[in-house]
């Protein structure tokens, strides 16, 4: 299962779900689905999100159980 830190990173940049959605060209609902773990984004969208949040994609998304990225 894919885990993510989108909500945490978004809050760090003081962005709303709508703001982030606009930056990566998706709806606010899609950002919400990703944050809740209901939906695993495509590689393209994951890269766009990492770019918008100024982090490596590995820091934003990782596989469950990967101790290197889990806090």
């Amino acid at each position: 299962m894919l885990k993510n830190r989108v909500k945490e990173m978004r809050a760090r940049h003081n962005l709303t779900q709508s703001d982030l959605g606009k930056q990566v060209d998706v709806t606010r609902q899609t950002i919400a689905f990703i944050e809740k773990g209901e939906f695993s984004p495509s590689i393209t969208l994951a890269l766009k999100l990492a770019k918008a949040l100024l982090v490596d994609v590995n820091e934003l998304f990782w596989l469950e159980g990967d101790k290197k990225y889990e806090k």
Binding site: T16, V26, T27, T30, I31, A32, F33, E38, F39, S42
Partner: protein
């Protein structure tokens, strides 16, 4: 998004299905006489007060709902000129496909509906073949399937929108 007509489209269809059921009941309760031979083809329907109420009431309500629905579709199309809803399109307008997240939840909802039909249709066909059901019950079974289809789709989509937060 929560007031998006595409999100509420299944509810409208469910309301139309209920009205169709009331109309079918009115027609079924009325006395009908069908003549179809070499020289004549005619259908005579005799309506009592209750049947008239059901038939004309359902038609009137249907027209009122259809008018409101058409106005809402027109308003939506004016607000969203790039993704207009056409009632004549083959593709169901309730599909939400603005991006990959919306496409994902639409796919999940459609999968649930498909799963439902994959057992409900054969089950209904078997029941109708085995049991001598009256015509109205068969009509209601078909309308029931259509109603359930929209309910399953709506419930699945709504579930994803329920606990959203900014």
């Amino acid at each position: 998004m929560k007031n998006d007509i595409r999100l509420n489209y299944p509810l409208w269809m469910m309301a139309f299905i209920v009205l169709l059921g009331v109309f079918a009941l009115g027609i079924n309760l009325s006395t009908t006489e069908t003549i179809n031979n070499e020289t004549e083809a005619s259908l005579a329907i005799q309506l009592e007060a209750f049947e008239s109420f059901l038939i004309f009431g359902s038609i009137l309500l249907y027209l009122i709902l259809l008018t409101i629905f058409s106005v809402k579709i027109k308003q939506y199309n004016q607000k969203n000129p790039h993704q207009k809803i056409s009632l004549l399109a083959i593709r169901p307008p309730e599909y939400l496909e603005a991006d990959e997240g919306m496409t994902h939840i639409t796919r999940r909802a459609v999968q649930k509906v498909y799963t439902f039909y994959s057992w409900a249709l054969p089950a209904l066909a078997t029941i109708v073949i085995i049991l001598p059901l009256p015509r109205l019950l068969i009509i209601y079974s078909i309308l029931g399937l259509a109603f359930a289809q929209y309910w399953i789709y709506y419930a699945e989509i709504r579930k994803h929108f329920k606990e959203e937060e900014e």
